[in-house]
Each structure stands twice: as C-alpha cells, then as structure tokens.
C-alpha cells in the first residue's frame, strides 16, 4: 500500500486551498493511494541506470532574445479582475508580508 493516508490528503487539501468533507477525505485517501501505487510501477520498470527525467522530449536551451514584445494596457490587464482600483487589482488583505 502506498504511503499516503487521510492526514496527508487533508494536508495537501489545505495547501491547495481545497475544502474537503470528511467523506471526501476518506474517499480520496483510498483513490490517491491507488494512483500513487500505479505511478510506482513505472519506477519499478526503470532500472538504476535510467536517470530521472522531467521532460519527455530531449530538448534543452529553448531561449528567447531579450527583445521587448507586446504588452496589455492596464484596462486589458484588469478586464477579468473581480475588483480593481486605480488601475490595480483589488484583493482582500491577507496576513502575510512575504
């Protein structure tokens, strides 16, 4: 059985800002464990000589020259904002100063 339990799911839900009921936590703990187990079988297939990869296609150094391109106007940028003030997005104050 995979090392994911109900507490892990509750922790992840909190980090992801997802509100979950007790039943949902129970159900997700079981389902996620199955998913993690399935992913694990991939690790079993790859031997130690196979390096970990983050990208399926062997591409590197996809760069852009440092040349200014298009921008939005403030009006465009704010067009989807629930609230705005003086050309800035208006958001609830959140206690965290980072």
């Amino acid at each position: 059985m995979a090392a994911i339990n109900r507490d892990d799911v509750a922790h992840l839900a909190r980090l992801a800002h997802i509100e979950m009921s007790a039943e949902e936590l129970d159900r997700m703990a079981v389902e996620l464990a199955v998913i993690v187990d399935s992913v694990k079988s991939v690790s079993e297939a790859a031997g130690e000589d196979v390096p970990a990869t983050s990208h399926p296609i062997p591409l590197t150094n996809v760069f852009r020259e440092d040349v200014v391109g298009h921008t939005f106007t403030a009006e465009q940028a704010l067009s989807g904002a629930p609230d705005a003030f003086e050309n800035r997005f208006k958001v609830p104050a959140i206690l965290d100063e980072d």
Binding site: I57, R64, F72, F89, A93
Partner: protein, 502 residues
C-alpha cells in the same frame, strides 16, 4: 505592539557566538522579463508592463530570456561559483496575490551556480571569506500596496492593491553558507557583504543595483550559540532589509534580541522577522510552518538549461576586473595613502580620478581637484561629483594653465566656477574674465617700486639680508595687481631690484 527585550551588544557578544546567513535577491536589468517579452522597467504606470504570461493566464507558455541566463552565469562566475552543466527550473507553489500563477518559477535542487566564495574586506583591511552556497534564477513577484489600517502595514489593512509590472522581472538569488567566526564584527561584515554583492552586480552591468528601488534586497539570517558550542542555535530570518545601513542595524538588533531570549531560558522561535527602519527593530512575522511546504516540482513548461563549457568560458572572458582587485591596483598605481584612497572611494570619485589621470593629469593633481574642489561643489549642488559637469579634460586644461604660470591656484578655482556656469572652456574663461596672471614685467616693476617706496624700512631690512621680510612687499604688489601677479615672479623681481641673492 510589545517591545522585545534586548541585551547590550557587548553583553550579547560576551555570552554568545553569532552565526549569519544571507539571501540576497538581485533584479537583473534585462530589457524584458525572465519568461515573457514584456518590458522590465521600473516606475511605469501600474499594470502596463504585463502580458498574458505575467498575469498567469491559463494556457500560456513561458520562454526563458537568454540574456538573463547569461547575466546569471556572469554573477555565478564573479562569485567564484561552479556553473552547472545542466539545470532546471522548478515551481514553488504558494497562494498569495503577488503571484497570479499561484507558483513562482524558480530553481530548486539544480541552481545554475553553486559552491562559490567572496572575500570581503572590512574597513580595517581584514579579509573575511564568505562561502556561497548557490545562486539561482527565478522571477520577481508583483507589488502589493496595503490600504487602510495603520500606515500601510498589513496589520489591520482593509484591502490590498496589486501592480504586476514587477511580476516576472528576472531575479538571481544568492545564498550564503552559514557564516561562522565573525564574532562582534558580524554587523559590519553583514553590511560589507551586501555592499560587495551590490558592487559586483553593478560592475558586471547586469543590475542597476539601486537598493532604494529594490534592485538588491537582503534577507538576513541570525542565530546565536554559546561560545564553544558547534551546533547552531535556532535562527530568525529578517526580511527585506533594504539599505546597507539597515543590514548592519538589523543584524545587530537581532543578535541583541536573541541574546535576551536565550538569557531568559526560552528557545528562540524560528520565524520571519520584519525590519522597521523607524524604530530600528524587528517584529514577528509568521512562524515557519506547513505554509512553507512549497511542493517544488520541475517546471514542465521549461526545458533544462545546458551551459556548455564553451559558453561559460566565452562569458568569463567578458567579465570586468573585480572591483576589489581594481581598487587594489589603482591604489598602488596612484601612490595614495590608505586614508587618501579611502576618502576617494567614499567620495565616489575613484572612476573620475582614473579618467582624469588617463586624460593626462598626475595622480596628485587629479586627487587635488576632485577631492579639494569638485566634491564640495557637488555636495552643495546635491549631485554625484561625476555629474557636476567637470570633465577630465577641464581638469587637465586647468592644471596646464596653472603649471604654465598663466593663472594661479586661486584664479583656477574661479575658472572652474566659470566652467560650471557654462561660460566655456578654461582658456576662454581666462580670456573673458580677464584672469590672466600679469606676466609682463613692466606693470609688475611699477607696482614693486610703489610697494618698496611705501615701505622703505622693509626695503632696508631686505637689503640688509633679512630676506624673510620680503613677504610684506610681495603682499603689497599682489594687492596692487588684484592678485593677478605670479607671486614667484614678483619675488624674483624684488630681489633682483634690491640686488639681494634669494
């Protein structure tokens, strides 16, 4: 707000040994952002330097700015780091309105530069080596302004306003290894370290390096341990200490605060502290907790960066002389004393003096003009000395006029004022203001005769061999010629006239 207890710095040092660590964020001065082609410009109208990538719209594809990668490699090389052959970007996940994507694109386990060091010279010449753990690439966040509540602080704010112009600006975060052994010089070292990093990135030309604009920002970690103990104490991290003076003060304050906490028998809480310039103290931010579980994972939208050794060496070949080495070289070449050279550096005229010497002045002449005349005038005008409007050529020309005996030193300062007033070149001003030293002996001889006649007793003394009495006659001549005579020539003529050997 409760005020934390502190010990005196001296007492804290008697009892405890400080360990420091720094995270310095450097904003690069590329034309565009790290992952989007929107302009990287400070101070524009809010939310105008943004496009869909900076706003974290769904389905957009970031593309890495090549110049930003090159700047990052240059910073790594200047910090004596190894440059990773291959490295990746990672997502640092957190929810906060300054980051519309809900993650910051950063680097996690594969920084582009690692294992470096920087030798920091303290004021008395002591050199202290700071080990660099890593320097990695990431992007800046948007700017929040807290509205309502008390004085723009978040506590009690009603809402916040967000400007994403800064969102996506390329950053290099430089992280030190724990710095041990600084002792009571920890605050001074902190300031000197940040100053050195700022100087290096400015010298490389990769950042505007203006701390007041947030181009260079420092988070300072401080912990204390009893003398002789190897294990580190619990640290606090003071955020956004954004001037060199504040870095020194914040480290000093945290040492004093930690010492008081430890003395009371309590453990130090591992937490973020916020620096307040007005009270020169820190207040508690949030404790380190699950909120710091950033769930880093490789950024699927960006492929790895491979820095071939050829590319790295090409970049290394473009690096300017490191600032500390340059200072050492110039000091020796110019033959200034420690104090003279320090004054020159502190006055910000080292570059100007170098240019003036290159233009043909001697090291002493260049120093005399910049330190003696220009720095003071710049202070009055409230500009940098180099921006006052005096070019190296002006100084060379002024000095030549003095050396040729065309004007004296006093006139030279008047000519300098004329240059600054836009009256023309030194030679033109000498002409226009009629400042030339009277070198035609005719008028001088008349003035000398008059002065001798006015002070016959003095003339007699000189004839009798008391040559030192000549000052009174020279003074009389200078007065009569309104200071436009060459005092040396006047002296010669008087002695000649009286038939006395100088």
């Amino acid at each position: 707000m409760s005020v934390d207890a502190t010990l005196s710095f001296e007492e804290a040092m008697e009892k405890y040994d400080p360990v420091l660590g720094f995270e310095v964020h450097v904003e690069l001065n590329t034309k565009t952002k790290m992952f989007s082609s929107a302009p990287n410009v400070f101070g524009d109208e809010p939310n105008t330097n943004v496009n869909e990538v900076d706003l974290g719209m769904p389905g957009v594809l970031p593309v890495v700015n090549k110049t930003a990668v090159e700047s990052s490699i240059k910073i790594g090389l200047a910090l004596n780091c190894k440059i990773a052959e291959t490295c990746r970007f990672a997502r640092k996940n957190y929810f906060y309105p300054d980051t519309p994507k809900n993650f910051q694109t950063s680097q996690y386990d594969e920084p582009i530069a690692y294992d470096g060091y920087l030798d920091i010279e303290l004021e008395d010449g002591t050199v202290f080596r700071v080990e660099i753990e890593r320097a990695h690439m990431e992007e800046d966040a948007g700017k929040l302004t807290h509205m309502g509540g008390a004085a723009g602080r978040i506590q009690g704010a009603d809402y916040s306003l967000v400007d994403y112009n800064r969102s996506g600006v390329p950053l290099v975060e430089i992280v030190t290894k724990p710095i041990e052994g600084a002792g009571s010089r920890a605050p001074e070292l902190a300031k000197a370290y940040v100053a050195a990093v700022r100087e290096i990135v400015k010298n490389l030309g990769v950042s505007d390096a203006k701390m007041e604009r947030g181009n260079v920002r420092c988070d300072a970690n401080v912990s204390l341990r009893p003398h002789g103990r190897e294990r580190f104490g619990i640290r606090s991290e003071t955020k956004n200490v954004n001037s060199l003076r504040a870095v020194e003060h914040a480290v000093r304050y945290e040492i004093q605060r930690h010492a008081a906490v430890l003395d009371s028998g309590e453990p130090v809480i591992q937490e973020t502290r916020h620096w307040h310039e007005d009270t020169r103290s820190t207040t508690s931010g949030r404790p380190k907790s699950d909120a710091d579980d950033y769930r880093y994972f490789p950024e699927p939208d960006l492929v790895p960066v491979v820095a071939s050794r050829e590319w790295v060496e090409e970049l290394r070949a473009t690096l300017p002389e490191p600032p500390a080495e340059r200072r050492k070289r110039l000091k020796e070449a110019w033959g200034y004393s420690d104090l003279e050279f320090r004054d020159v550096v502190n006055a910000g005229v080292m570059d100007s003096i170098e240019e003036t010497i290159a233009a043909g002045a001697s090291a002493d002449v260049a120093r005399k003009w910049w330190m003696g005349e220009i720095v003071g005038r710049a202070k009055v005008a409230d500009v940098d000395p180099s921006e006052l409007g005096v070019t190296p050529q002006v100084i060379v020309e002024l000095n030549k006029l003095v050396e040729d005996g065309k004007i004296n030193n006093k006139m030279a300062t008047q000519v300098l004022d004329g240059v600054l007033a836009g009256e023309g070149t030194p030679a033109e001003i000498v002409e226009k203001r009629g400042l030339a030293v009277v070198s035609d002996d005719g008028p001088l001889l008349e003035a000398i005769d008059a002065a001798l006649a006015a002070q016959p007793d003095v003339a007699e003394k000189i004839r009798g061999g008391k040559v030192q009495a000549i000052g009174a006659i020279v003074g009389g001549v200078m007065k009569a010629t309104r200071g436009q005579a060459d005092a040396g020539r006047v002296r010669e003529l008087i002695l000649e006239k009286l038939g006395v050997e100088g």
